[in-house]
C-alpha cells in the first residue's frame, strides 16, 4: 500500500497560540480519511498545511513519498474543496470548472469534452452558463467539487464541504461524495466537526483536540474503543466514570459506557448484570424512534439510556423517580487518562 500523505512532526503556532503540536499522520492511497474535532482543534490548519496555503514551523509534509514541505500550492498535485466553495464570482459555472484546464493550456476541444463529462458526473448539465450567484447552495457545492475533480487529482482535500447545507441535502451529498470517491479512486481528506458524517463516510478517522491527534482509527474502533476520555466524550453519547468513581466497581482506570449497553432494571425480573447503580430520572427527551432518558446517579454524573418507543411493553418513566441501572463489565471501555 502506498502512502498518499505523510505528516512528520508538524507543529504550527500563531503567536502564543499552539495550533498544531507534533502531528504525525500517514494517509494511504485511495483512503477516505477524516480529520474530526471541535472548532479550534487544529484540523483546518492541518488541511491548509497539506494544501500548502500555510507553512509549518516544524516538521515535513510528504506527498507520495516526496517531500513537498517547501513546494508552493500550485505545484502540489492535490486539490481542495473550500468551506465557502470559493467559486470565482466573475466567471460562469463553465469557466469556473475549466479554470485549471485554461491555466494548463489544455486544447479547447479537450477542455470542452472534460467539462461536459464532469458536469454530467455532478449532475449540473444545463447550468454551465450561469454565474455562481444564480445557484443554490447545493449546486455551488457541486460546482466546487467538479472544479477540483476535473484535474483528476490523486488527493482531494475537503474542508467542511457540507457545513452550509441543510440536513436532507447533506445526507444526500454524503452518499454522492462517497460514490465519487469510489468511482475516481481518489484519496479524500475530509475535515469535519460532525461525528456522524465522519463515522458514516470514513475508512479511518483522526480525532483532533487542542492541536494534538487523540486517536487514529477506524470508525468502528473510534466509537467502540475510544482510547481517551476526550474521544469517548466527543463521539456519540456516552457516560464517563472517572478513576475515583471507577474504583467503586473494582476498576483501576476510568471507563465509559454507551447508552445502548445500559438497561433499566424492572422490579419484576432479577438480573445478572455485573454492575448496578441507583439513579434518578432528570429528563426524558423524545427523539422519534427512541426516548433518551437522562438519569443522575449517586456519583453526580448524568447517564443517558435509550428506550425504544415502538416497543409494545413500554414502561413510562417518571421524572424524579429512582430506578436501578445496570450494565455488564464486558461492555465498558477502559480509558487511558
Amino acid at each position: 500500500m502506498t502512502n498518499a500523505i505523510e505528516l512528520l512532526g508538524i507543529s504550527k503556532s500563531y503567536g502564543s497560540v499552539q495550533a498544531l503540536n507534533n502531528i504525525h499522520l500517514t494517509i494511504n492511497d485511495g483512503e477516505f480519511f477524516s480529520l474530526l474535532g471541535p472548532s479550534g482543534s487544529g484540523k483546518t490548519t492541518c488541511l491548509k498545511i497539506i494544501a500548502g496555503f500555510e507553512g509549518s514551523q516544524e516538521g515535513h509534509v510528504k506527498l507520495f513519498n516526496e517531500d513537498v514541505t517547501l513546494v508552493p500550492p500550485y505545484k502540489r498535485d492535490l486539490n481542495t474543496v473550500f468551506q465557502d466553495y470559493a467559486l470565482f464570482p466573475h466567471m460562469s459555472v463553465r469557466s469556473n470548472i475549466g479554470y485549471s484546464l485554461r491555466i494548463k493550456k489544455v486544447n479547447l476541444e479537450e477542455q470542452n469534452k472534460r467539462i461536459d463529462e464532469i458536469l454530467e458526473t455532478v449532475k449540473l448539465i444545463g447550468y454551465d452558463l450561469r454565474k455562481p450567484s444564480e445557484l443554490s447552495g447545493g449546486q455551488r457545492q457541486r460546482v466546487a467539487l467538479a472544479r477540483s475533480l476535473i484535474n483528476k487529482p490523486k488527493v482531494l482535500l475537503l474542508d467542511e464541504p457540507l457545513g452550509a447545507l441543510d440536513l436532507k441535502l447533506r445526507e444526500q451529498m454524503q452518499i454522492e461524495l462517497k460514490n465519487l470517491q469510489r468511482k475516481f479512486n481518489i484519496t479524500f481528506i475530509y475535515v469535519t466537526h460532525d461525528q456522524q458524517e465522519a463515522l458514516s463516510m470514513s475508512d479511518r478517522i483522526a480525532v483532533f483536540n487542542n492541536g494534538r491527534v487523540e486517536q487514529i482509527d477506524t470508525p468502528h474502533n473510534i466509537y467502540n474503543k475510544p482510547k481517551t476520555s476526550f474521544v469517548a466524550d466527543f463521539i456519540g453519547i456516552t457516560t464517563i466514570f472517572p478513576k475515583e468513581d471507577a474504583s467503586q466497581f473494582n476498576i483501576t482506570k476510568s471507563f465509559s459506557i454507551r447508552p445502548e449497553f445500559i438497561s433499566i432494571q424492572s422490579s419484576s425480573s432479577s438480573s445478572s448484570k455485573d454492575f448496578k447503580i441507583k439513579a434518578k430520572v432528570t429528563d426524558i427527551q423524545y427523539q422519534g424512534s427512541f426516548n433518551k432518558i437522562i438519569f443522575e446517579s449517586s456519583f453526580r454524573n448524568s447517564l443517558s439510556v435509550f428506550q425504544n418507543t415502538n416497543n409494545n411493553e413500554n414502561i413510562s418513566y417518571k421524572i424524579d423517580q429512582e430506578y436501578i441501572l445496570e450494565f455488564d463489565k464486558k461492555d465498558i471501555t477502559l480509558l487511558d487518562d
Binding site: 494544501a51 500548502g52 500550492p73 500550485y74 481542495t80 465557502d84 470559493a86 477540483s148
Partner: protein, 305 residues
C-alpha cells in the same frame, strides 16, 4: 377639533405612501429644483447664442454655439488638452493607487489599516488651495525638487525633461508634468478608497482556490484579483477623470497660459459674459463622462459588482 386631528392621523396611517411622499417632498424638490433645475437651465443656454453687437443673449434655438466648440481651433484644442490630461491623471492615479490599496486590503493588521486610512484621508481635511500652493513651492525653480536634482548633479536631466514639447515648460511649476503631479496627488484618495473597498471584498479563499487549481501568483493576480478589483478601479477613475475635467484652479496655478475647460467656462461666463459658450463648454465633461461610463460598462468593469 380633536376628532379632526384623529381623522387626519387615521388617514395618514391608512395611506402610508401619501405620508411617505409628504416627507420626501422637501429633499426631493431640493434635488430636483435647486440641483438639477439650475444645472439644466444653465446647460440649456448652450442652445442659444450671444449677440456679438449688444452682448445680450439671443433666446432662439441654435446649434451654432456648440459648433463653435469644434470649429474654432483654439476651443477644440482646449477640449483635447483637458480630456488628454484627465486620462493621464486617471491612469497615473490608478497606477499609484492600486498597490497601496492592495497592500491595505490584504497585508495589513487592523491597526496598521487605521493608520493608512488616516494617512490617506488627512490631506483631504486641509484646504485644497493650501495644498496646491504648497506644490507650487515644491515644484518652483527655487523649490526642493530643483534643489535635489542640483545636489545629485542631475539638473541637466530635469532641463531635458522640461524641454520635451507638449509636456514640458519653463519650470516644473509651470508645466504639464507639474499639473499631472499635482492632480495625481490631489485626487489619489478618491482612487485608493474604492479600489480598497473592492479588494477587501475578495475573500482569501478565492486566492487560495486559484493557487490550488494550479495558477501561479502572477496568473492569480491577472485572472482573479484584477477582474474583481475592476469595479473599484472604474469607480475611482470616474472620480479622478470627472474631477480633472472640471477643475480650473490647478491649471490656473500650475498650468501654462494654455486654457483648460474649467478655465474656459470661468472666463466665458465671467469676464466675457458669454453664458452660451460657457454652457457649451460645461456640456462637454458631462457627455464625455456618459461615454466613459458606457465604455467602462461595455468592457465589463461592473460585471463583478
Amino acid at each position: 377639533m380633536i376628532n379632526f386631528i384623529v381623522n387626519i392621523s387615521d388617514y395618514f396611517y391608512r395611506n402610508k405612501n401619501f405620508l411617505f411622499l409628504l416627507f420626501l417632498l422637501p429633499p426631493l424638490s431640493w434635488l430636483g429644483i435647486i440641483y438639477l433645475g439650475s444645472l439644466l437651465t444653465f446647460l440649456s443656454h448652450s442652445f442659444f447664442s450671444l449677440d456679438g453687437f449688444t452682448g445680450k443673449i439671443n433666446y432662439t434655438f441654435t446649434l451654432n454655439t456648440i459648433f463653435e466648440l469644434f470649429n474654432s481651433r483654439a476651443n477644440f484644442d482646449i477640449l483635447i488638452r483637458t480630456v488628454g490630461l484627465a486620462l493621464t491623471v486617471t491612469f497615473g492615479s490608478a497606477l499609484i493607487g492600486f498597490p497601496i490599496a492592495y497592500y491595505m486590503a490584504k497585508f495589513t493588521s487592523p491597526k496598521v489599516k487605521i493608520f493608512f486610512y488616516i494617512a490617506i484621508m488627512l490631506p483631504l481635511w486641509s484646504s485644497y488651495l493650501v495644498r496646491v500652493y504648497s506644490w507650487k513651492l515644491i515644484l518652483a525653480k527655487e523649490g526642493i525638487i530643483n534643489w535635489f536634482f542640483g545636489k545629485l548633479h542631475l539638473t541637466w536631466l530635469l532641463d531635458k525633461i522640461l524641454s520635451i514639447p507638449y509636456i514640458g515648460g519653463p519650470s516644473l511649476s509651470i508645466s504639464y508634468i507639474g499639473m499631472f503631479l499635482v492632480f495625481t496627488y490631489i485626487w489619489l484618495p478618491f482612487m485608493i478608497l474604492p479600489i480598497h473597498a473592492s479588494l477587501e471584498r475578495v475573500p482569501n479563499s478565492l486566492i487560495n482556490a486559484s493557487l490550488d487549481l494550479g495558477a501561479s501568483k502572477r496568473q492569480t493576480f491577472y485572472k482573479v484579483i484584477l477582474p474583481l478589483a475592476l469595479p473599484g478601479i472604474a469607480a475611482g477613475s470616474i472620480f479622478t477623470f470627472s474631477l480633472t475635467l472640471g477643475d480650473y484652479i490647478i491649471p490656473y496655478i500650475i498650468g501654462t497660459s494654455k486654457f483648460f475647460i474649467g478655465q474656459a467656462v470661468y472666463t466665458h461666463q465671467g469676464t466675457a459674459g458669454n453664458i452660451p459658450l460657457a454652457a457649451a463648454f460645461s456640456l462637454v465633461p458631462i457627455i464625455v463622462m456618459i461615454f466613459y461610463i458606457k465604455t467602462a460598462k461595455k468592457l465589463g468593469a461592473f460585471d463583478a459588482l
